[in-house]
């Protein structure tokens, strides 16, 4: 079933395009997550799990290592730090903390698989 989908020409071409722009895609996802933390009001599970699924999908596609995920954890920790300094345990800080924990969990699963 998955194989037949992958062999559809448009899908194949899209996949190739995605593979060529690895860095860009990851940056887009990270930007989306950062904007979710910094600019969106309120926490939304739909946003969180959509972005997370997207990230997991991209990681799977690029066969990226857990090191990348843990490095992104450092980015979220930096955001968490900045938010904490600015506003204590505000809603945004909590959102950054949630992302940090989720990425830690994803990184652990990735490392187990590797």
């Amino acid at each position: 079933m998955i194989k037949s989908i992958i062999t559809i020409p448009i899908i194949t071409r899209a996949m190739q395009l995605l593979k060529k722009n690895k860095l860009l895609l990851i940056m887009v996802i990270v930007s989306l997550i950062l904007s979710d933390i910094l600019f969106m009001f309120g926490s939304s599970d739909i946003r969180i799990f959509t972005f997370l699924t997207l990230y997991v999908f991209i990681s799977f596609l690029y066969k990226s290592k857990h090191r990348l995920t843990f490095s992104l954890c450092l980015v979220f920790l930096a955001v968490l730090f900045a938010e904490f300094i600015e506003s204590g345990t505000s809603e945004k800080t909590e959102e950054a903390a949630v992302w940090l924990v989720l990425f830690l969990a994803v990184g652990i699963i990735q490392q187990w698989r590797e």
């Binding site: 599970d45 969180i48 799990f49 920790l77 968490l80 904490f84 924990v101």
Partner: protein, 809 residues
Amino acid sequence: MKLLHNPRAYLLIISFLLFIIPFFWLKPGEMDLGGDSSRLYFYDPLNYLKYSVLYATQHVGMGVENPLYLFLPFNIVLIILMKVFNSGYLIITLFNSLSLVVAFLSMYGIAKELMFGKILKKNYSFFGELASLFVGVYYVFSPVMTYGAWDKAIFTHYQLFLNPLIFFLLLKFFVTKKMIYLLFTLLITFIFSVNFSWGASPAIFAFYPLALLYLFLYAIRIRKLTINIKNLIIFSSLFIWIHLFHILPLVFSLLDKSGLVYQKVLQGGYSANPALDYFLGIAPSVKLTRNILGLPQQLQSISSVEFLFFAIPFIIILGLIFSTYTFIDREQKKNFLLLLSIFLVALFFATANITTLGLEVYKNLFAVPGFSMFRNYYGQWQFAYLFFLSLVIGYGFFYVLIKIHKKLLCLMLFFALTFFLAITAFPFIRGDRINLILNIGQKIEFKVPIRMDPAYEQVLDYIRKDPIDGKYITFPLSESFSQMIAGIQGGMYQGPSTIVHLTPKSDFNGYQVLSPFSEVFLSLVKEKDYDSLSRLLGILNIKHIFHNSDPLIMNYFPDFPYQHVKNFLPLTQVGYSNFINSLPVIKEKNFGERYHIYNLNGNYYLPHVYVPKESKIYKNNLNPWGYVKDPFFKAPGNKDPRIVYLEDNKIKIEGSIPKINFVKINPSKYYVKITSAKKPYILVFSESFNNNWKLFLSNKEIKSKTVASYFNGEIEEMTHINKWIDLSGFETLGKNPIADKNHFMANAYANGWYIEPENLGNKTEYTLVLEMTSQRVGYISLFTSLLAITVLIGWIIKNIRKDLSLKSY
């Protein structure tokens, strides 16, 4: 220089420093008593054992069936220590010192065992040692620990050292397969049985399932060890056998509908909905950020340096990244991941607020029977979460050190982090968590540590010797169950009644303890209806009023513990003196200027056991909180207080009533001699109604002397015996109780029996045994556990001898 590179030297130095820290907390003679558990077992362990631990009933207010045998082993250890040191101060200080050292060494031992694993390249052992030391230091100095485990510590706080110690012993068993580790584990669980009882179930279920899961996975998946199932089965069986002395009463209490455990577990006390409401009430205040940083949820003192705790997740993440570049044993990396996985589970349970989905999952867990014990979830999971956090940090630190690789740099980093932790823990090191101020902001502030007033010790001694089996009421009355006693050095005891815990007498010292008469009592005070108030005291078997007239305990405590009651009761000590003098009382004795004992007039006082002359019907109107609404006992003009109030109008008292004399063997057993019982009569025992109070016919004669006579000799109280176990008392085993079908609630709380001459073969003179039958379970289970602990100690000695002979060979 050699010393600088020897981490073992640091181990000794840190252990020594930790040991001496608690010696700065209290001044000689002081004790940090009070709080929910009273901690009076540190002050007077012998009397605590005699009057609080040995019986199936607790004499709080009207008395309640609540076996506290689970304190027994720890209490006995404290008695031995008291014999050796003769100082509560020294025992508390040594206990605190050992708690810190054992926690540190256990965490160090665990981390070392995990990090060194099966094989660790020799050139990494220095880093492993440093990281293990850091685990121990972080665990004892982390803000979660220093701010959450020491103030007026109750027994569940002992998990700060018990969790690592038990984990360490089990880990050593899994690794070495030596039975001695399991045997020592059993011995420790016995001494601290209170921490392995149903009272500590949230703490047990928060830590041990995760810890055991980790241990099994570590042993099987990481170390590829075989598990000795046979030894584990022996361990489990022996554990149950040793702990039978509190498990068996628990099972009986669960099976008995009037049992405390049945009522709490199966009759709504721990039902899901209130627990869920409680959980939802506190969940918004628990912040994930603080948990990631390893900060307690309510912390003010170190807020200026809180940001520095970002080093904690930073080290973990760096460790995770570096672990992939470090070519050491693959097992180590897997173990790091396993620990981190378990830590994330603990983090979830300690936080709940991780996405809306996470919160929903948590909410649904409350549908699982028993999960409601985690309604105050942060407090219950924080120790488990801290335990795994410490290990994860240790692992992260280990990989960071390996990456740095230069020993001097590693040492500098270790010292910097340790110094930083010690600085943030400085208020703890200084003793601020022990020297808590109870009334912050008042003109005179009082701290928790107290040096007991010798005059008050005389009061306790006097009450212990009081030959009358009557109850006490303590004024000023508090909101909950807190008694206030000022020390002689500016400290204040604020905790459960010392009369209850250290003397054989019952005491009503708070609004809650007066339940179900709490509201009625206050309204009668407000109405100044002293006659009805005195009748209520009589019905409650209150013989004495203890007045602590010390102005310090009122003037500087405008709120707790007097909030609600202040609207009804006097606001000053002078007001209290006037109020007491308005009651029909006689002053019995003064102890210095502050402590006074009064006696209730014989026209109102009803002995603990009495036969009423008259019965009256009342409607048991309760408000939504279960308090009696109407003062049904109002009887103006009635001179004889021997009235019983019944809900059922079928029972009638006809004609003459018998004479009785009674003797107390212990709080769970009385003998009552009945004479001239020609007609049916009611026997009232002024103790909370409980199905386990039963009457039996006895062949024994009461031979004590009379100490008090009431109502022209119609009721006589004999010299009480106060003996824990009356071997001849097993006479009731196998006997049928008398009038058990006619056992009912009298006076809205007490036990009443309607006894007809036919119940006793138309005898007119006989002796009855009034017995709390659940005490038998206590005796049997205690002796069974005693046998088990003898076997265990024998086994430990045999193992040690075997090890020694092998070594010498």
